[in-house]
């Protein structure tokens, strides 16, 4: 098992993880072949624990036996090693903006999404308001562009956010709101992402995600 990890590219991942999906999308955008290893998060493999001893989390990209951790760091690594079809623009200011918004997705979307499905009552209402605000800010950055990366470029911010589109149905159902109504441009962008092969092959059906969240709710005792 350790010998296989010495060669080529291996991704330690978990099927529904949006963070893992970022890596899958980036690898697909670059046309990189890799070995996908599904982790059981309640019984983490010795390989995962060895490759990410600090956080013990997926995703981990293993390249020539060496681990890279943290999804956006992995995506930047993929970008730099396989530099064709760049995900980041060449202009330093535009790069800084892309990094800013990818980091914004990291800081805000998952945390708020979790509050949205995990909490009830007033706390859930607040999570819903926060989520709408977050999505509106992202929509503002998208503007009338086809992708965050521009008219032709599916870029760094698109990769960072696209996996969360599979969670939109869960957010809408738990929070009882419509992303299409609140953020029509972002909803349209989400549709365009799904039409992209690299994304559709990396994401799971939103109903499967919702089912998974249902199981998590039972596990955490949320009614």
């Amino acid at each position: 098992m350790a010998a296989a990890a010495e060669k080529g590219v291996v991704l330690l991942d978990f099927w529904v993880s949006p963070f893992g999906q970022r890596c899958r999308i980036a690898l697909a955008e670059k046309g990189v072949e890799y070995e996908y290893k599904e982790e059981n998060l309640s019984d983490k493999s010795p390989l995962l624990l060895k490759m990410n001893p600090v956080h013990k989390k997926i995703p981990v990209l293993i390249h020539h036996g060496k681990p890279i951790c943290e999804s956006l760091i992995i995506v930047q690594y993929i970008e730099e090693v396989w530099s064709h079809n760049p995900l980041l623009p060449s202009n330093p200011y535009e790069r800084a903006k892309a990094r800013f918004w990818a980091d914004f997705v990291d800081k805000k979307v998952a945390e708020c999404g979790t509050r949205l499905w995990k909490l009830k009552g007033e706390a859930q209402e607040e999570a819903k308001k926060d989520m709408i605000e977050i999505l509106k800010l992202l929509e503002g950055e998208l503007g009338d562009k086809k992708y965050f990366g521009g008219e032709k470029t599916f870029g760094f911010v698109d990769v960072a956010l696209a996996p969360f589109t599979a969670w939109f149905y869960t957010y809408e159902t738990c929070g009882k709101f419509s992303i299409e109504n609140e953020c029509p441009k972002l909803a349209a962008w989400a549709k365009r992402c799904k039409e992209r092969k690299t994304v559709s092959e990396s994401l799971h059906d939103p109903h499967k995600v919702y089912e998974y969240v249902g199981k998590l709710k039972k596990k955490y005792g949320v009614e």
Partner: protein
């Protein structure tokens, strides 16, 4: 500096995040105007330049704002790539490692530092926060061995990305030892980092930017007093 370039840094030197930007600019020998914020208030320019977070630092280059301290450092590294050594390592794997530890420092270590700023000396929470900081520094001691490869800094021969990410906190680490009555910088536990810390603080690009521990202690007391006096909202 090239004519027609306008470079402003908004912030307070008490903020380790602002110090990061200053160090990066110094490493590249770039002139800039420092616009000092007033503690407890946010200037119009800050609010306009960073509407999303409303936080310092903000670097404004020819009217365009760049936010988030390590993103600013990378921006400076890329714009002034020809001026001075590279701040980020050149090898993609080394870059990933530097980025990993910088994220670790801000996500895992900094929250405990924040706790210690408001902590009381004999509190159980204080002891726990201090333990977490020490454990984190010990991990970084191991990282130093791997990253420095026997040289003076995480970045090798010169101050680099991870040196900046961690070193900016050195003033506060010393101040917190006084404020919270805990030992964080222990030669027994992190001997290599202690050596690195001395070299870092004496580096040309750094030496005037790390605030004195006593000044930070006063600053922290002022912040605490202001928070206690503020009406709850």
């Amino acid at each position: 500096m090239a004519g027609g370039q306008e470079l402003k840094l908004l912030g307070l030197w008490e903020s380790p995040f602002v110090v990061r930007s200053g160090i990066a600019l110094n490493l590249k020998g770039v002139d800039y105007e420092f616009l000092e914020e007033v503690p407890g208030t946010k200037s119009e320019l800050l609010l306009k330049s960073n509407p999303v977070y409303k936080k310092m630092p903000v670097l404004i280059h020819n009217g365009k704002p760049i936010c988030e301290s390590m993103i600013i450092v990378q921006y400076i590294d890329e714009v002034w790539a020809a001026a001075g050594p590279s701040i980020l390592p050149s090898d993609p794997y080394d870059r990933a490692i530097a980025r990993f530890w910088a994220v670790y420092i801000d996500d895992k270590l900094f929250p405990y530092l924040r706790k210690l700023i408001i902590a009381k000396a004999d509190d159980e929470e204080t002891a726990e926060a201090a333990e977490q900081v020490i454990a984190g520094l010990q991990l970084l001691e191991e990282a130093f061995v791997k990253c420095s490869k026997g040289k003076d800094f995480f970045g090798g021969e010169s101050v680099g990305y991870l040196d900046i990410a961690l070193g900016c906190y050195l003033g506060w680490l010393k101040a917190l030892e006084k404020l919270a009555g805990v030992k964080l910088l222990d030669k027994e536990k992190i001997p290599l980092l202690m050596g690195w810390a001395e070299r870092f603080c004496s580096a040309d690009a750094v030496k005037e930017l790390i605030p004195e521990a006593d000044k930070l202690v006063e600053f922290a007391k002022m912040v605490r007093a202001r928070q206690n006096a503020a009406a709850p909202n």
